[in-house]
């Protein structure tokens, strides 16, 4: 680079104030211009690079939405260092990552190559600013805006606005799946169809068949769902999230809570499997202590004492389903839970 193309350096900034004072403020080193400051071709190139990053970011966001729509969630592909991975997860992660990274990288590149990098020391002042200073600030802001080239370099401005406007769409696409408000869906479960006249059988989730009281032995753990629910139903996952039961049998003399004993049948107790804290499936059952533990936040329930909360953040005992047997000896429920299953929410009575 030839000497005459470089602008004059500011002589005063690099001067040492007083040679006699060992602690004197050395001041700022002389300002050095960047290539883009002095070479308009380099500046143009940097401008194109920044814009290219923003454009790729936009394409990646479009790619994110396209992948979300187009790629089959079950598709597995082989990608070298990762092995067999889900094509959808890989595409979503890569496109969103590229979209966000390139906005950041473009902004950094822009700031480092095109925006003014003149050192501007600011002395500390009182908080109040007089008119003169304010006018100066406005002037500085205008200068800064002019120096950033935000108004002048329209391509960068427009592509930045474009990429920033498109990125939130990823969030809208994802959050839309959370669906409408809960309404009254949390108040009752699939067991509400049971009545004393027409009880619902408890179906063993492992064998898909009803159980007799003798099938449940002391120390065992069994999971049940209501009669009429099938694992291949379209809404199975939604329904089992409220209907799931865990059945334990506790020696009647070990049951401390009388109401709980009456709701059960000969020591067989049917509790909701859904934690009353935030609704995790909870069935880490310790058959010697009769404690059931939630894996998420360690809420611990004493199933021998009406599923009382003995540790952790859960606010309510686990709801218990009243069970009995029908004329064929199969375990049945004659009604819904007394209270909503699962986590606390505003409209909940207690």
């Amino acid at each position: 680079m030839s000497e005459e193309k470089l602008p004059e350096s500011h002589g005063s900034a690099g001067e040492v104030a007083d040679h006699g004072d060992p602690f004197a403020d050395p001041g700022l080193p002389a300002h050095e211009p960047r290539r883009t400051d002095i070479d308009e071709r380099a500046a143009k190139r940097a401008e194109r690079q920044v814009s290219l990053m923003f454009v790729i970011s936009m394409l990646a966001t479009v790619g994110f939405i396209a992948s979300y729509v187009a790629i089959d969630p079950d598709k597995i592909v082989y990608i070298f260092p990762l092995g067999h991975v889900s094509a959808l997860n890989f595409a979503l992660g890569m496109t969103l990552g590229v979209a966000l990274f390139l906005i950041g990288a473009g902004a950094v590149h822009w700031a480092r190559t095109l925006m003014s990098d003149v050192e501007m020391p600011a002395e500390r002042h009182p908080i109040e600013a007089d008119d003169e200073v304010r006018a100066d600030v406005i002037q500085q802001f205008r200068t800064g805006a002019a120096e950033s080239g935000f108004g002048r370099r329209k391509m960068i401005r427009n592509t930045l606005i474009g990429s920033m406007a498109l990125v939130p769409l990823s969030g809208v696409v994802l959050l839309r799946d959370l669906g409408p408000l809960p309404e009254k869906k949390l108040k009752d479960t699939g067991w509400k169809e049971a009545t004393p006249q027409k009880p619902l059988q408890l179906i063993n989730m492992s064998t898909n068949s009803p159980m007799t009281a003798d099938d449940i032995v002391i120390g065992s753990l069994t999971f049940a769902m209501p009669q009429g629910l099938h694992t291949h139903d379209e809404d199975f996952q939604q329904r089992i999230a409220k209907d799931a039961l865990m059945l334990v049998r506790i020696a009647p003399e070990d049951i401390k809570d009388d109401t709980s004993k009456e709701l059960g049948f000969q020591g067989i107790l049917a509790y909701s499997k859904i934690c009353t804290h935030v609704g995790c499936p909870i069935s880490l059952y310790e058959q010697q202590t009769h404690h059931a533990l939630c894996p998420c936040h360690q809420s611990t329930f004493d199933l021998a004492d009406g599923a009382r909360v003995i540790f952790g953040p859960a606010g309510h005992p686990l709801p218990q389903l009243k069970i009995t047997t029908d004329e064929k000896g199969f375990l049945v429920a004659t009604g819904d839970f007394d209270e909503p299953v699962g986590p606390s929410y505003w409209e909940r009575a207690r």
Binding site: I79, L221, V248, P295
Partner: protein
């Protein structure tokens, strides 16, 4: 036939018939009578019980009582069955090293023959789950793995983790990792419900399903197909968070330092 019928009135004919009849009876008896074998079995069984009782007196009776009736240091073994003995002694959990929240797996000090003798003695105290045969826990059907996976997620994953890596319980208890556990021992644990594990008796979980779960566990903990890329030990949020903090944030910090350290100043040359 004419020769035979001509001699049927011979004085020795009755003797010949008698001898033939005796030979036939003896032959049939030797072929079909189970008496000898049964006696040998009973003898072997009672010998095993005797031997088991001796082993029990040495290794187990200080906690479980001389006749397995239990004491303040150990539960009664009446009715626990041979499957329980085979699991507890076969995995080295019994005899227990020391009392505590949970008895851990350790080196087994008994031979399989000795374990069988102990099991014979304990099952003579009262009926209980019987040690499974190889056919009961060995699956040959590849479909069993996916069926077992569903059953595992319903019944086992909450404690033992989705990939059988184990997990924590309350007050120092834990669900152990299922990696490298014998198929037989997994089956027996489901049958008998050792320590704080609930049992899954044949009435609520039939033999066939236990076999499927064993097939899934053996498959998952041995030659895992790895569909999600890096497993990070299949432990879930702990290792994933650690990885994110160290490698994810570390990379970001490194990039920030790199950006700050490299200026684009044009040097006067």
């Amino acid at each position: 036939m004419k020769k035979l019928s001509a001699r049927r009135r011979h004085p020795l004919a009755a003797l010949v018939v008698l001898l033939l009849a005796l030979a036939a009876t003896g032959g049939l008896y030797a072929a079909f009578a189970p008496a000898d074998k049964a006696q040998a079995d009973v003898a072997a069984q009672s010998l095993a019980i005797d031997e088991g009782k001796k082993l029990f007196a040495v290794g187990c009776s200080s906690c479980h009582g001389l006749n397995g009736q239990g004491s303040s240091d150990g539960p009664s073994l009446v009715g626990v069955g041979s499957a329980s003995v085979d699991f507890q002694v076969g995995t080295g959990r019994m005899p227990a090293q020391q009392p505590g929240a949970q008895v851990p797996r350790k080196q087994n000090i008994y031979t399989q023959a000795e374990i069988d003798q102990l099991a014979a003695f304990v099952s003579s105290l009262g009926p209980g789950p019987v040690t499974p045969t190889k056919e009961q826990y060995t699956s040959t059907n590849p479909e069993d793995i996916s069926k077992g996976g569903e059953l595992f997620r319903t019944n086992c994953a909450q404690c033992h983790n989705f990939a059988g890596q184990g997990g924590a319980l309350t007050k120092g208890k834990y669900a152990p990792s299922l990696e490298g556990v014998d198929a037989k021992h997994i089956y027996e644990a489901m049958q008998t419900g050792p320590q704080n594990m609930p049992s899954f008796p044949d009435t609520t979980m039939p033999e066939e399903q236990k076999k499927q779960i064993v097939a899934f566990v053996r498959h998952t903990t041995s030659d895992e197909p790895n569909p999600g890329g890096l497993t990070l030990g299949s432990l879930g949020p702990v290792t994933e968070g650690l990885f994110g903090w160290i490698f994810g944030l570390g990379t970001l910090i490194a990039v920030a330092i790199w950006v700050a350290a490299h200026t684009t100043k044009a040097k006067k040359s």
